[in-house]
Point group: C2
Chain length 292, copies 2
């Protein structure tokens, strides 16, 4: 995987010190950014299909893209615009909501494990196990000792994923509170976006500092070598979509999947196919033809 300027350095995290509106590694503007994203399509598509083809082999791998971020940070936009570039057959997208009663009866990773991508797939988590140390912490949904336990449990889990062939790509979509206000206002101003808004979204803004603190702790505690965090400046939607696309491409290029070789004799199968009995003979041969 190539180095990325977006990779979070290890150590204490200060989200206020990380830009929300910059465009690291991209010197051009919105129009060029959209073109650059579209241009990722063919490479992403080919590498995704190569990865997918591994499901026919003995050691198939997979990729898990974890998308986290405050409301309106654009997890859905990344799914639509960036993941929309690849064959939907190769994707497994899971949007995690508040846990159900059944899910709450199990360890927090239970529902996560059930949503992992199968062999050869790109899994995408729209929210994830990180909500169990973010929302859970801010809203007091679990005792603090349990939340403390979870950081290490997450690191163990992600190390286990990598050992099992799943590359984990973690992206925090980083926006400012002002950008969130603009996006909520847009949802109120556009009737085609009213369904995306609930009044609780405004109440939740007063939790912004608590969420930031919870993110900073989570990012610091789970920024491991095997599954590092990337903090993606996301005030500009086009940059966010492009940056996540590049991170996904980096991960796929790091895996460098190749087409599986044939497990049969190609020449022999060719001969069989060219000399088979006609599987679908004409039931009513043309009598004139036969007479000729």
């Amino acid at each position: 995987m190539s180095a990325s300027l977006l990779r979070l350095p290890t150590g204490p995290v200060d989200l206020r010190g990380l830009p929300t509106d910059a465009t690291p590694d991209f010197a051009h503007g919105k129009t060029a950014g959209k073109v650059a994203l579209a241009e990722l399509g063919p490479r992403l598509g080919e590498l995704q299909e190569r990865l997918f083809s591994e499901h026919t082999t003995e050691h198939p791998r997979s990729v898990l893209l974890v998308l986290q971020g405050m409301d309106t940070s654009g997890k859905g936009g990344v799914l639509r615009h960036t993941l929309g570039l690849v064959d939907p057959q190769g994707l497994r997208i899971t949007s995690f909501k508040a846990p159900t009663a059944e899910e709450r009866e199990h360890d927090f990773l239970w529902r996560i494990r059930r949503a992992l991508p199968g062999p050869g797939l790109i899994g995408v988590f729209d929210r994830s196990h990180y909500e169990d140390v973010l929302a859970a912490r801010v809203r007091g949904l679990a005792p603090l000792e349990e939340i403390e336990r979870r950081y290490a449990a997450i690191n163990d889990f992600e190390a286990e994923l990598l050992a099992g062939g799943t590359t984990v790509v973690k992206c925090m979509l980083h926006i400012s509170a002002d950008t969130q206000r603009e996006r909520l206002l847009e949802r109120l101003d556009r009737p085609d976006k009213h369904w995306k808004f609930t009044p609780g979204d405004i109440d939740d803004r007063q939790l912004w500092p608590a969420y930031r603190a919870a993110y900073e702790t989570a990012l610091e505690r789970t920024n491991t070598e095997v599954a590092p965090w990337h903090v993606v400046p996301s005030d500009r939607k086009w940059y966010r979509n492009l940056a996540v696309g590049r991170l996904l491409l980096d991960a796929l290029e790091g895996l460098a999947p190749t087409w599986p070789p044939a497990r049969y004799d190609v020449a022999e199968q060719r001969r069989r196919l060219l000399h088979e009995a006609d599987p679908d003979p004409d039931p009513d041969p043309d009598p004139e033809g036969s007479a000729a």
Copy 2:
């Protein structure tokens, strides 16, 4: 739903009498066909998002696209090229393989029900419950009485789906045995397609007439008013992709989903947002600024 020339008339079905290489309802060629498919994108995308927004309402609907066809008929191509036009968040794709031991212990519809699209989603079945009257019949995987029972069970099931808000769009991708041979040869000739081929694919061609008979019976017995069949000429990939796109668009236009109205007072929420306490005050105000 608008009438389609591809809708199968009721009554006995003779697949040999239905074209595999025609392009009904489209007078142009391949290049224009690809453009026409791309042009469906924005309408498909908007209607899909409107349908998706219904998951926030009390009576959300969904669509289930059933893709059936012989090997190489292009179910995967439709998924990639046609379903690839819509937001992957709005799709739920299930590829049915031979049933597992657990699945075989249940009624044939058990695994099907578990894969139905949730509220507001477009579900796509790459193979489906129809395999339980097709492969099951041809390969003798179930007693004939059981297979006979299944036709009615399928009709009841699909009527139940429609009553529950799920529109079922059934497409049989119709190719000739010659086209299948060409496509299998291509898989043998191209190293990037070797993984898609197994020698059993050639053996299965000798079952072509048996499969055709099983399809004819299944199509006739399950071609209901609530869930009619469409037979899509699929020797030309571009036409197949376009035709299924049009059928999906017809279904979505028939549903005519609209944006859900706000369940809150928009003006009041706007005021709240514009007059909230700053959720993220600057921790270290500029002293020069304060002195000004």
